[in-house]
C-alpha cells in the first residue's frame, strides 16, 4: 500500500478532505435502512465499556488529526508530521465558529440526515486507537467481527463526548463545504461497495453502483474505447466534482448530463480511491498478492478463482465489470495505445493492488468471470419514455425494474430522503407500475382467450357428441363413490389429458363401468389400458388435490386463530421480567447463542424443505401403485 497516487499530488487539499468522507464509512455490510439493529447493543455497551471512557479522552486530539489523513495513510502508522494534514486544518480554525453553530442546528434535525457520516467518521477514527486497548481489556471481544465493533462504537459515541462530535463535525463540514454540499447523509462515494450498491441500485438485477455502471457503459462505446484519451487525460476538476455531487445526491439523469471520456474515467477512479477498503477487501488482498507472485500461470488462475469466490458478491461483481471493461480497453491497443502493462501502471494504485496482481487479473479475466457480460444499463422507464413494452416477458422485466426502483424510493423516503422531486417520482413510478400491471393482465386475458378458442376449435373438429356425456358421468358418479368433495371444475391440464383419448374413442363402442363410472373400451382396443390408466390417475390426483385443499383451509384457519391470539396478547401489558434474565450471559455467549439458533433454524428449514419434497415424491409413487392396483380390477 505504499504508493503515491498521482492525483493526490496534484490536488492535495482536495484529496485530503475527501478522505474524511472516505474514511468515515468503513462499516461494511451495514444498511442505511435498518436503523434498529444497532440500538440493540447500546445498553450493554454502555455498561460494559464505561471504563474506557477516560483512555479514549486522551486519544481524542489524535483521532481528530487522523480524520484528515487519506485512506492509504490510514494503513500506515499515524505519523502526525505529514504535510497534507495541516492544509485542511487551516479551514477549521478560521471557520469553526460559524460552522459550529450550523452543526448545532443540524443536530436538531433527524439523525438520519447530517449526523450519520459524522458518527461514522468517529467510529473509524477511534477504531484504530481503541483496538489495542480493547485487546487488553476485553479479550472475549476479539472474536467479534468488525461490523459489530463499529456498531457498538457508534452507539457509544452517540451517547457520549458531544464535544468531540462537534469539533469533528465542523471539520467534516469544512472539508465538505469546500468542494460540495452533501444534501443528505447518504453518499455513494466514500462508502463500502455494498453500501454504495444498495444506495444506488441498477434496477435490472445487476449489483453495481449506478455510477460505476454508467461510466463503464459510457466508456464501453466503441468510439470511447478507441479514443486515445481514455484513462490518460484528467478532466476539469469542477466538472468531476459536479458529477460526484450529482451521484451522491441521486440527482443524476443520464439524458441531461452527458459524460465525457476523461470525466467518466476519473469518476470511476474517484469511486475506487474513496472506497474505505480495497475492492479485494482488507482480509483477502494479501492472499491475492501472494497468488499473483506465483510463478506458474495455470495454477494462478485456479487460485485466483478460489479467492474470488470468497469475496462479497457485490465486490466480485464490481471487480468483474472493471476487469472485463479494462480488457475491452486493451483489446483496442491499436487505437488507444494501452496494453495490460501500461493500463495496470495507470490504475493499479487506484484499485489498491500491485501492478503484478492487476496484470494477472487482466490476463485471466475472461476465464475468471465467464458468467459476466457487460450489458448496457437500460434504466426503468419514465413518463417521458415513448411507450410501454408490448410483449408479456418485456412487461414482466420492466415491472421488476420498476418494483426495484419503487422499493428504493420508499426506503430512501423512510430514511428521511424527502424532496418534492422524489415525491413526484414516487407517483410516476407507481403510475407506470399500475399501467404495466393492467397491460400484463390484458395480455394474459388475451392469451387465455386464444387458448380457449384453440380448445373449442379442436373439440369442434372431433365429433363432439360422445365426449361430453361420459365426462359428466365420471363426475357425477364420483359423488356416489364416497369421494370427499366432488370436483366441480376440471383443470385445463387434466382436460387436455383426457381429450385425445376421447376423440379416439369416439368411433369405437365403449361401455361405462357401473361402479366407478369409468369409460371402458372393448378389450380389443389398444387404447383401453391407456384410457383406463389415465382415468384412474385422474381420480387419484383429484383425491390428492382435495386433501391438500382441506389442509390448506385448516392451515388458514390456524393462521387466523393465531393472529387473533396475537392481537389479544398485544393488548395485554407486556411482561418485562423475562428479558432481564436473557441478558445475564456475557456478550459473547449471547452472540454465540444467537448464532447457534440462526444456524440451527436455517438447517431445519432446509431439512423441512427436503422432507416436503420427499413427501411429494412418495405420494407420487403411492399414486402410481394405486393406479396399478386398480388396473387389475378391470
Amino acid at each position: 500500500m505504499d504508493f503515491d497516487s498521482p492525483e493526490e499530488k496534484e490536488f492535495p487539499g482536495l484529496y485530503a478532505s475527501e478522505a474524511v468522507d472516505a474514511k468515515s464509512k468503513k462499516s461494511k455490510e451495514e444498511s442505511d435502512y435498518s436503523e434498529g439493529d444497532h440500538e440493540k447493543h447500546s445498553k450493554k455497551d454502555l455498561i460494559g465499556r464505561r471504563k474506557d471512557k477516560k483512555e479514549k479522552g486522551k486519544d481524542r486530539g489524535y483521532a481528530a488529526l487522523e480524520g484528515e489523513s487519506s485512506p492509504e495513510e490510514e494503513l500506515d502508522t499515524k505519523s502526525p508530521s505529514k504535510s497534507k494534514k495541516s492544509k485542511t486544518f487551516k479551514f477549521t480554525s478560521s471557520k469553526s465558529k460559524e460552522k459550529r453553530e450550523k452543526s448545532r442546528d443540524k443536530e436538531k434535525e433527524p439523525k438520519a440526515t447530517e449526523d450519520e457520516p459524522v458518527q461514522k467518521v468517529k467510529d473509524k477514527d477511534k477504531d484504530k486507537d481503541k483496538d489495542k486497548e480493547r485487546q487488553h481489556e476485553e479479550k472475549e471481544h476479539k472474536k467479534k467481527d468488525k461490523e459489530r465493533k463499529e456498531k457498538d462504537k457508534k452507539d457509544k459515541s452517540d451517547k457520549k463526548d458531544k464535544k468531540d462530535k462537534k469539533s469533528k463535525q465542523t471539520q467534516l463540514e469544512d472539508a465538505a463545504g469546500v468542494e460540495e454540499v452533501l444534501a443528505l447523509g447518504y453518499p455513494i462515494f466514500g462508502v463500502s461497495v455494498s453500501l454504495a450498491t444498495e444506495r444506488s441500485r441498477c434496477h435490472d438485477g445487476i449489483d453495481l453502483p449506478l455510477v460505476v455502471r454508467d461510466c463503464i457503459d459510457f466508456l464501453q462505446q466503441k468510439q470511447s474505447l478507441k479514443c486515445e484519451q481514455i484513462y490518460k487525460v484528467e478532466p476539469i476538476k469542477t466538472r468531476l466534482l459536479h458529477y460526484k455531487r450529482l451521484y451522491n445526491n441521486r440527482e443524476h439523469d443520464a439524458t441531461v448530463d452527458e459524460l465525457n471520456i476523461p470525466t467518466a474515467c476519473s469518476l470511476l477512479k474517484l469511486f475506487f480511491r474513496e472506497l474505505p477498503e480495497p475492492v479485494l477487501t482488507t482480509d483477502l488482498v494479501a492472499r491475492f498478492e501472494e497468488v499473483a507472485s506465483h510463478p506458474k500461470v495455470t495454477e494462478q488462475q485456479a487460485e485466483l478463482q478460489q479467492l474470488l469466490e470468497q469475496l462479497p458478491k457485490c465486490n466480485r461483481t464490481l471487480l468483474a465489470w472493471m476487469m472485463l471493461h479494462f480488457d475491452a480497453v486493451i483489446q483496442q491497443e491499436r487505437y488507444n495505445k494501452l496494453n495490460a502493462q501500461s493500463l495496470a501502471m495507470l490504475l493499479s494504485p487506484t484499485l489498491q493492488m500491485s501492478h503484478r496482481l492487476m496484470v494477472a487479473l487482466l490476463c485471466h479475466c475472461t476465464n475468471l468471470f465467464p458468467d459476466v457480460k457487460l450489458i448496457k444499463y437500460v434504466p426503468p422507464l419514465t413518463s417521458t419514455s415513448p411507450g410501454l413494452p408490448d410483449k408479456p416477458e418485456d412487461i414482466q422485466l420492466e415491472l421488476r425494474k420498476q418494483d426495484s426502483l419503487l422499493s428504493q424510493i420508499h426506503s430512501e423516503m423512510n430514511a428521511g430522503f424527502i424532496s418534492k422531486k422524489r415525491e413526484e417520482q414516487l407517483w410516476e413510478v407507481q403510475r407506470i407500475i399500475t399501467q404495466l400491471k393492467r397491460k400484463l393482465r390484458s395480455c394474459e386475458k388475451k392469451q387465455e382467450r386464444s387458448i380457449d378458442e384453440l380448445d373449442s376449435s379442436t373439440s369442434a373438429q372431433t365429433p363432439a357428441q360422445p365426449a361430453p356425456p361420459p365426462q359428466i358421468d365420471t363426475v357425477s358418479e364420483d359423488t356416489t363413490d364416497s369421494k370427499p368433495a366432488p370436483p366441480t371444475h376440471i383443470t385445463p391440464a387434466e382436460e387436455q389429458l383426457e381429450e385425445p383419448s376421447f376423440s379416439e374413442s369416439s368411433e369405437i363402442d365403449y361401455t361405462i363401468d357401473k361402479q366407478t363410472g369409468y369409460l371402458l373400451l372393448p378389450k380389443t382396443s389398444a387404447q383401453r389400458d391407456e384410457l383406463l390408466r389415465l382415468q384412474i390417475e385422474y381420480d387419484e390426483l383429484m383425491n390428492w388435490q382435495n386433501e391438500l385443499k382441506t389442509r390448506i383451509l385448516a392451515e388458514r384457519n390456524e393462521v387466523f386463530r393465531l393472529k387473533q391470539l396475537c392481537e389479544q396478547e398485544m393488548l395485554k401489558p407486556s411482561v418485562v421480567g423475562a428479558t432481564s434474565q436473557e441478558q445475564m450471559p456475557g456478550d459473547g455467549d449471547y452472540e454465540r447463542i444467537i448464532e447457534h439458533y440462526t444456524r440451527e433454524n436455517a438447517l431445519l428449514e432446509h431439512k423441512k424443505q427436503m422432507l416436503g419434497m420427499e413427501l411429494k415424491e412418495e405420494r407420487r409413487a403411492c399414486i402410481a401403485l394405486q393406479v396399478e392396483l386398480r388396473m387389475q380390477q378391470f
Binding site: I409, H410, M413, N414, I418, K420, E423, E424, L426, W427, Q430, R431, I433, T434, K437
Partner: protein
C-alpha cells in the same frame, strides 16, 4: 405546487384511503375507465392519471389507490405526504370499515399537519342499501364533526362516482388559490398551521 415544472394543465393529487374491500379500487377504476370489477384483488398501491375538464378548465387528476390492509401501512406515509386531497372510503354495509375511517383521518392529519386538508367522507356500496349496517345519520354526524362533506356512492351503478372526484378537485383547487394568495400576501397564520407546505414553497 405553484412551481410545477410542467407548464401544462393544473395537476391535482387525490389519494384513496379506507379499509380493505370497501371499494377504493372499484371507485377508481369506474372513474378512470368506466369499468366495474366484480372480483376482489387486494391493492398494494396503484396510481392513475387522467385529463378531465373541471368547470370548463382542463386539469389533470392523479389518483393514488392505496392498500386498505395494515400490512402496507409502512409505505402509506410516503404517499399521504404528497397527497393534496383525500377520499376516505368505507362501505355502508360494514360498520368496521366505518369505524376505521377515524384512524385514517387521524393518520392523514398527522402526516399533513393540516386540519382543513381537502377531504371527503365517502360511503360506498349504496346500491346495497338493504344490507346497510351504518345508519345515514351516523355518517352525516361524523362528517359534521370533521366538517367535511359526506357523499354516498356506488361503484357498481356509477352513482356519484364522478361527483366525489370532482367535488374533491374543486376543494383542492380553491385551496391552492387560497394558498397562493396567502404566500404572496399576508396571512401568515395559515403558514403556522401548514408548516410543511410553506417550507417547500
Amino acid at each position: 405546487m405553484s412551481k410545477k415544472p410542467t407548464a401544462g394543465p393544473a395537476l391535482h393529487k387525490v389519494i384513496m384511503v379506507g379499509s380493505g374491500g370497501v371499494g377504493k379500487s372499484a371507485l377508481t377504476l369506474q372513474f378512470m375507465y368506466d369499468e366495474f370489477v366484480e372480483d376482489y384483488e387486494p391493492t398494494k398501491a396503484d396510481s392513475y392519471r387522467k385529463k378531465v375538464v373541471l368547470d370548463g378548465e382542463e386539469v389533470q387528476i392523479d389518483i393514488l389507490d392505496t392498500a386498505g390492509q395494515e400490512d402496507y401501512a409502512a409505505i402509506r406515509d410516503n404517499y399521504f405526504r404528497s397527497g393534496e386531497g383525500f377520499l376516505c372510503v368505507f362501505s355502508i354495509t360494514d360498520d368496521e370499515s366505518f369505524q376505521a375511517t377515524q384512524e385514517f383521518r387521524e393518520q392523514i392529519l398527522r402526516v399533513k399537519n393540516d386540519e382543513s386538508i381537502p377531504f371527503l367522507l365517502v360511503g360506498n356500496k349504496c346500491d346495497l342499501n338493504d344490507k346497510r349496517k351504518v345508519p345515514l345519520s351516523e355518517c352525516q354526524l361524523r362528517a359534521q364533526q370533521w366538517s367535511v362533506p359526506y357523499v354516498e356512492t356506488s361503484a357498481k351503478t356509477r352513482e356519484n362516482v364522478d361527483k366525489v372526484f370532482f367535488d374533491l378537485m374543486r376543494e383542492i383547487r380553491s385551496r391552492k388559490t387560497e394558498d397562493s394568495k396567502a404566500t404572496s400576501g399576508r396571512a401568515k397564520d395559515r403558514c403556522k398551521k401548514r408548516r410543511l407546505k410553506c417550507t417547500l414553497l
